[in-house]
Amino acid sequence: MSKPVHDFTAKVPEWSPYVTPVEFASATPAQLSAMKVTPSNKGVSAYVLTLAHDPESLEVRSPLFNLIMYGKDGLSPAERELGAIAASVVNRCIYCTAVHASRFLAHTKRTELIETVFADELQARLPPRDQAVFDFAARLSTTPIAATVADAGVLKEAGLSELEQLDLILSAAIFGWANRLMHTLGEPLAAEG
């Protein structure tokens, strides 16, 4: 039997919902339409079937999420992932952290950075540009929002262009959204095997 995962990991767990997902066979036309625009075409996940209870939100959020995380130009894919990881650490979304740590590693192979973030969380000491990216995203993710104009200035000093700074805000913010679904509507279970 799979057990809930409570510690940060880069090994992607399974996500198990607390609410009953929509049954694919009895989904309404609006729900089917909303599910079609999701990235996964190899079977619809429990997460998407759960969100299909609100097809209007799902239909808009999936393309928005993809554009923010995988759009062209601006912030590098790895740094978008780092912004997502920072937000997910603040919100302690073990599932989102695992998925995006594994994607960060696929881009960079920088296991030492991920290990440092998992061990020290918001106190993690990183190389200057990574630190600026991580801290800004983390401080934008807290309630109340801790990020300051000085933190924004650090991003600029670290060499991020205006477009890169904007992309970082978007990646942290869209994870404020994703974490509030993933972490609160279900739990991560250790993957079998």
Partner: protein
């Protein structure tokens, strides 16, 4: 067309940040569509448009975002539903157990989502909130927290430049 996020962040169009926003016009357009999907959906389920506006204003008050509070208070006033107005204030209750449970959950998802557990979903169910409405409420809270952070982040970049 100027989107809500652009209007509230007040970024000068001729600035470098204004140019960056122009590059991300599609993100802003989809963010606006998401706003409409959670605030004024065609099928609101068990969360009326007025209740959604009240809860959104409440969450924005938690973050101290005057501009977004004013925006959602405007939606609430336009709805003309006085029964849910008290929920727009942190700590405010309507006396309806179902709505009050939703307000508590919106508070949790705004203030400390990391502390949310299965028990919080059970509490919603016990108060009579159906499963589709649990998801609708979660999307509303999640979107408003996204929007609050995009606007706040842009204001920081604007003031740092």
């Amino acid at each position: 067309m100027t989107t809500l996020i652009e209007k509230l962040a007040g970024i000068p169009t001729g600035s470098k940040l204004g140019a960056a926003l122009k590059t991300r016009a599609e993100v802003l357009r989809l963010s606006e569509a998401a706003h409409d999907a959670v605030l004024v959906p065609r099928d609101p389920g068990g969360l009326s448009h007025a209740l959604r506006a009240a809860l959104a204003a409440r969450m924005c008050r938690h973050l101290g975002s005057a501009a977004l509070v004013a925006h959602y208070d405007g939606y609430l006033a336009h709805s003309g539903d006085a029964d849910v107005a008290a929920l727009a204030q942190p700590g405010g209750v309507s006396g309806d157990p179902r709505q009050d449970a939703m307000a508590r959950h919106a508070d949790l998802l705004t203030l400390s989502p990391r502390n949310a557990t299965r028990g919080d979903i059970e509490a919603l169910r016990s108060a009579g909130v159906g499963e589709p409405d649990i998801v609708r409420l979660s999307e509303l809270a999640a979107f408003v927290n996204y929007q609050l952070r995009v606007v706040a982040g842009l204001v920081l970049l604007r003031d740092a430049s």
